[in-house]
Symmetry: C2
Subunit: 320 residues, 2 copies
């Protein structure tokens, strides 16, 4: 029987825990709403409950727990520095709490890094040594894989490609800066950009008077709506600027784009590739394959599982 | 007696070769003008001559040759892709030619990467695992050290931080893109920027009618000339944007600034640090020490020497 680990992925809406074996098979999977509170006690309690139940279903002892969360942390086992979407985690010691409650090794990881690791283990960048992964959702998360391993840096904060500046005087960003990639390539951003540009496109069918979403914009774009087409062209333009810079700086083999906004692929990929071709050096631009994520919303769980295996004594076979 | 290697550093003006031992002592050093020609034969011949003479002076056999050059190459031993400042090297097989001519192992490296390695071995980033080094000269070169070793990427082209876009609609760059950091932070750039802004500063003492240099501008700035002060403030602003992005993406411990333009440190460092503080996440921004290079124009020679040792069987002690 194969060894297995527990893997958790905490989001603003849902908390998921799975049992995953060393060949990447998902043996069990539980999901619950993320319990919001003024502090982290309910989240820790819910994570412990799901993890124990998941372990019980397999009936054997897991090697450890990998846990992905939407936060910047002080290294894999440390304190949460900041978690803009779940502020009750600011300063949280969720790692040590889970370790104590489960009596097993626990490794924490930023959710975007975990997704990058998951895609590298089992998904779109499988088999490549150097890759980056951008998660285009409500925000823009990023993760970097170098030599087959996540690059975290001394504070565990590396990979924040969503907070590279692409427009020095651009709109303010939740991170405190302005003109970050996140302000041009997230689901939130495209709605703002559409409103900003609407006056130039009086023929648009986008329901500007209501609470339209990035999906509404995408649907309009696929029907040829000129406003929506232009909004996603700009998404591609700014993604191309940021990724072109990363291509020059890191020379990755693969660039994985995931998250809800990657569903608008056909509306932005042309401009994105054109901008990389214009801006990056020839050889690394030719090298970098731009691909869609394969693991969907499970990428973070698989990445968390990989980390739980990796921190144990046995290595996992990356070719699976 | 300590082992030693030969190290070469080829620039647009000079070619230097040194004998360096495994504790970083320079045992011999020769310099000549870079012989320009329509192909690379004269450069190869000059490098062979200096290398042989340097080896003869020591009277023992070197372990190998490390050679830094202003080019993008296909990995440490391969073909030169492109060398904008020495176009006769485009497509050159200078690595194999030197190897054959000297009957020893040869490792090639981009000059900015070599400077980063040199500073990490013996200079400003000594003792740090993750650092970047920017060489602010006629252009802006960059090198990345991760885990104490150069990060090259699969094509050997990584580290081109000078060609990150900091102004999407900025001036055209020699690399084919536009708005690259190099267009705002090189010695060439400050002269252009000063001319662009001159009409707003009628009180300037900068000799705008003549062929003034970055040094003239710096001297004017230290005397309080408002145009010159504003030009270097903008250098700091754009360096801060680019380095702030790198801080978010790589979380380096040290950022080394070298090259002639780093001499204008006191005129740009305030704005540079302010921009990083505004734009990067708190913890990695606090972490990253911004420091001046220590090895001057010898950084590339020392980096080339480190590489020659590193490709041999014995490792060198990084603490020296």
């Amino acid at each position: 029987m194969n060894d297995f680990v527990l893997a958790g992925d905490l989001g603003g809406t849902n908390l998921r825990v799975a049992a995953i074996d060393d060949e990447g098979r998902m043996l069990a999977r539980l999901e619950d709403e993320t319990p919001r509170h003024t502090d982290d006690t309910r989240i820790v309690a819910a994570a412990l409950r799901l993890a124990k139940e998941c372990g019980d279903r397999i009936g054997r002892k897991p090697l450890g727990l990998g846990f992905a969360l939407p936060a910047i942390m002080s290294g894999p086992e440390g304190r949460v520095f900041s978690s803009p979407n779940l502020p009750e985690l600011n300063g949280s010691l969720i790692g040590p709490n889970l370790r104590e409650g489960l009596s097993m090794d626990v490794v924490l990881e930023n959710d975007a890094n975990a997704a990058a690791i998951g895609e590298n283990w089992l998904g779109a960048s499988q088999g490549s040594g150097d890759s980056i992964c951008l998660t285009l959702g409500t925000g823009v998360g990023g993760g970097i894989i170098l030599d087959g391993r996540p690059h975290r840096g001394p504070d565990g904060t590396a990979g924040e490609i969503g907070h590279v500046c692409v427009e020095p005087l651009g709109p303010p960003c939740g991170c405190g800066s302005y003109g970050c990639l996140e302000q041009f390539a997230s689901a939130t951003a495209v709605v703002r950009i559409a409103r900003e540009m609407a006056s130039d496109f009086s023929d648009t069918k986008v329901p500007l008077d209501s609470e339209f979403t990035a999906l509404d914009l995408y649907n309009a774009g696929t029907s040829g709506d000129r406003l929506a087409v232009e909004v996603f062209r700009r998404v591609g333009y700014y993604l191309g600027i940021a990724i072109g810079g990363i291509v020059n700086v890191l020379n990755p083999e693969v660039v994985v784009l995931g998250g809800g906004m990657s569903g608008a692929w056909d509306l932005f990929i042309g401009e994105l590739k054109e901008e990389i071709r214009k801006r990056a050096f020839h050889e690394p631009a030719e090298r970098a394959r731009i691909v869609r994520a394969k693991l969907g919303s499970d990428a973070g769980l698989f990445g968390a599982a990989w980390l739980a295996f990796a921190q144990g004594t046995r290595s996992i076979d990356q070719s699976h």
